[in-house]
C-alpha cells in the first residue's frame, strides 16, 4: 500500500505493508471491530428472538388480518439515516419528547446518548426498525407448516410449548438460520443510522467498523489506512460468511 492523503493524492509514495501495520496497531480499529461484532450479534439475536415470538404469538391475528403486516413492516420502509435523524430529535436532551415525558412523569431521565448508555440505545433503535423483517420471515415460515402436520401432532398429543419445541420450531430452523445470518451481516456493517445519531459517539463509543473507515478516510484524510481497514474488514467478513454458510449447508435437509 502507499502513503497517500488528499494532499499527496497525485504523488503517492509506496509504503509496503506499513498501513496494515498501523491499522492493526491502532486501538480504535480493534474497538470498532469489537463494536461491530457485538452490535451485529446482539441485534441479530434480539431481532430473531423477538420476530419469532411475535410471529407465533400474533399468528392467529395476522392470519385473519393480513393488512396488519403492512403496518408492522412499515419501519423497514424508512431510510436508516432518517431513522437516526428521527431518534436524534426524539431523544434530544432538551427538546426531545422522550426525555421530556420521562422527566415529567418519573422525575428522571437517563442520558440516552451518554457513553454508558449509547450502545444500548442504538441496539434498541436497530432492533425496533428491523424486527419486522424477521417477523415477516417467521410469519411466512410458520404459515407454511402444513395444517395436517399440526393435526397429526395434535392427534399425537402435542400442544403448546411441546408442539412448538418439537414440531414447529425444528421445521422453521432453516428460516431461523437465514434470518440470523442476514441480520448479523446487516448489523456488522451498520453505518448510517448510528452516524447520523451520534457520529462516532462520545469517545468512539459507537464507532462501528464502517464508521472507523469513513472517519479515517474523510476526517483523518488517511486514505491508506482507510483502505487497509477496508481490506481487513472484507477478509474478516469473508471468513465469517464462509464459515456460516458452510455450517448452514452441513445441516441435513
Amino acid at each position: 500500500m502507499s502513503e497517500v492523503g488528499f494532499e499527496t493524492l497525485r504523488a503517492p509514495q509506496l509504503e509496503g505493508f506499513g498501513n496494515f501495520a498501523d491499522v492493526l496497531r491502532d486501538e480504535a480499529f480493534w474497538d470498532s471491530l469489537g463494536f461491530s461484532l457485538r452490535f451485529g450479534t446482539l441485534t441479530a439475536v434480539l431481532e430473531v428472538a423477538l420476530g419469532l415470538f411475535l410471529a407465533v404469538f400474533l399468528a392467529p391475528i395476522l392470519q385473519r388480518h393480513a393488512w396488519l403486516l403492512a403496518i408492522l413492516t412499515l419501519p423497514m420502509m424508512v431510510a436508516p439515516a432518517m431513522m437516526g435523524l428521527m431518534y436524534r430529535l426524539v431523544l434530544h436532551e432538551f427538546v426531545g419528547p422522550v426525555p421530556h415525558y420521562l422527566l415529567a412523569w418519573f422525575g428522571t431521565s437517563p442520558a440516552f446518548l451518554a457513553p454508558g448508555n449509547v450502545f444500548w440505545t442504538v441496539v434498541v433503535i436497530e432492533v425496533l426498525q428491523w424486527t419486522p423483517f424477521t417477523l415477516l420471515l417467521f410469519h411466512l415460515a410458520y404459515g407454511s407448516i402444513s395444517g395436517e402436520i399440526r393435526e397429526a401432532a395434535r392427534m399425537d398429543g402435542a400442544k403448546g410449548w411441546w408442539m412448538f419445541r418439537r414440531v414447529e420450531f425444528p421445521m422453521m430452523l432453516p428460516t431461523f438460520g437465514v434470518a440470523l445470518a442476514i441480520r448479523f451481516i446487516d448489523g456488522v456493517r451498520v453505518f448510517d443510522n448510528i452516524y447520523v445519531l451520534t457520529g462516532a459517539g462520545a469517545g468512539g463509543s459507537t464507532m462501528s467498523l464502517p464508521i472507523y473507515i469513513y472517519t479515517s478516510f474523510f476526517r483523518g484524510g488517511n486514505i491508506g489506512a482507510a483502505l487497509a481497514a477496508s481490506v481487513l474488514f472484507a477478509l474478516a467478513s469473508f471468513l465469517i460468511l464462509a464459515l456460516a454458510w458452510r455450517f448452514a449447508q452441513r445441516r441435513p435437509a
Binding site: E151, A152, A153, M155, D156, G157, A253
Partner: protein, 315 residues
C-alpha cells in the same frame, strides 16, 4: 366427518361415543384414536424412528417401552432397515407405512384412515391396498376408512357407510350395497363402469312389481323395493353394464328387458368389450359385453337384461 370423530373439529350438535364412552368434548389425544392422513403428515425433521416414537414421548412413556413398540411396529410394517432415514429419503409407499406405523405404536382403540391411497400411483395403490387389508387382519383393530374409491370401499370394508352431503345414504355389507342399493346415489357409486339409469314411465303397479317402459325400452315387469311408484309417474331404472347382453347371444328368457339403440363407440379391452349405446330418447348407456362382440359405430343393437337384476328407483 372423520375430523369430528378424531376430535380435530368440534361437533355443533349430537354426541360421539367410543365404546359407550361419550367423547364429544374430549381432546383428540384423549379419545385414544390414531389417524393416518391423506398427505401422511410425517414430521420432516424427524427420522422414521422419531416419527413413530413422538406420540409415546409426548405421553411420557418409558424409553424401553417406546423402543419395544417402535421396533414391533417396524417389524410388522417391514421398516426395520429404514428407522434412521428421514421422510424425504423414503418412497411414497414407505412413507405411507411410516404413517401407519405412527398410528400402530399408540395402540389405539380404533384407526382412522383419511383417503390414505390417493397420493400413490395406480400400481402402488393396489399393492398398498392389499397391504392394508393384510395389516387389518393381523391387527384386528376397528378401522374407519374414508375413501372416494369404490374399489377400496368394496375390497377393504366389512361394512360400508355411503355418505352424501353429510347424510347417510345407506349402510351395510359391501355385497349388500352392491346387490340391493337403496337409492340411485349408492347404485351409481358402487360398480365400474357405473350403473346405467333410464328415465322410464311407470305403466302398471301390483304386488311389489311394476311395469315400466320408455321409447327404447319395451315394457318390462321389474321388482319394486321400498317406496311404491304410482302408475303414470316417472321413475329411474338402473341396470349394471355387466348385466346387459346382446340379443343374439342368448336365447331370450320370458319377460326379459329389451333395449334398442345405436352403437356410438365400441372399446375392445381384450378381456371384454365396452359399448356406448345411444337410446332413442338420446340418453346413453354402457354395456360390458364379451370380448368377441364386435360392433361398428352407427350399428343398431338390441340389448337384453334379466328384470331381477334391474333396480327401480322412485323419484
Amino acid at each position: 366427518m372423520l375430523r369430528l370423530i378424531a376430535g380435530l373439529e368440534t361437533a355443533t350438535a349430537g354426541r360421539i361415543e367410543i365404546d359407550g364412552r361419550d367423547v364429544t368434548r374430549f381432546e383428540p389425544v384423549d379419545r385414544r384414536l390414531a389417524m393416518v392422513f391423506q398427505s401422511y403428515a410425517l414430521y420432516p425433521h424427524m427420522t422414521v424412528r422419531g416419527n413413530m416414537a413422538f406420540a409415546l414421548e409426548t405421553a411420557g412413556s418409558p424409553r424401553a417401552e417406546i423402543d419395544r413398540r417402535v421396533r414391533e411396529a417396524a417389524r410388522v410394517l417391514k421398516l426395520e432397515g429404514l428407522l434412521d432415514r428421514r421422510p424425504a429419503q423414503l418412497s411414497g409407499g414407505q412413507r405411507q407405512r411410516v404413517a401407519i406405523g405412527r398410528a400402530i405404536v399408540r395402540e389405539p382403540v380404533a384407526f382412522l384412515f383419511d383417503e390414505p391411497l390417493s397420493n400413490l400411483d395406480a400400481a402402488l395403490r393396489i399393492e398398498t391396498r392389499q397391504e392394508i387389508a393384510r395389516l387389518h387382519q393381523q391387527l384386528g383393530a376397528t378401522t374407519i376408512y374414508v375413501t372416494h374409491d369404490q374399489v377400496e370401499a368394496m375390497t377393504l370394508a366389512d361394512k360400508i357407510v355411503v355418505l352424501k352431503d353429510g347424510r347417510v345414504m345407506q349402510a351395510g355389507a359391501p355385497m349388500e350395497l352392491y346387490l340391493e342399493p337403496a337409492n340411485e346415489f349408492v347404485a351409481g357409486f358402487l360398480g365400474s363402469p357405473s350403473m346405467n339409469f333410464l328415465d322410464v314411465e311407470v305403466r302398471d303397479v301390483r304386488d311389489g312389481r311394476a311395469t315400466v317402459a320408455n321409447a327404447g325400452l319395451a315394457p318390462v315387469e321389474v321388482r319394486t323395493r321400498g317406496a311404491q311408484p304410482t302408475p303414470g309417474s316417472r321413475a329411474r331404472l338402473g341396470v349394471r353394464p355387466q348385466n346387459l347382453t346382446v340379443l343374439e347371444d342368448v336365447t331370450l328368457p320370458p319377460g326379459a328387458g329389451l333395449l334398442r339403440g345405436t352403437v356410438e363407440l365400441s372399446e375392445r379391452l381384450g378381456s371384454e368389450t365396452v359399448v356406448d349405446v345411444v337410446l332413442p330418447d338420446r340418453s346413453r348407456i354402457v354395456a360390458t359385453l364379451s370380448r368377441d362382440a364386435v360392433f361398428l359405430p352407427g350399428q343398431d343393437v338390441t340389448l337384453t337384461f334379466i328384470p331381477e337384476q334391474a333396480h327401480l328407483f322412485v323419484r
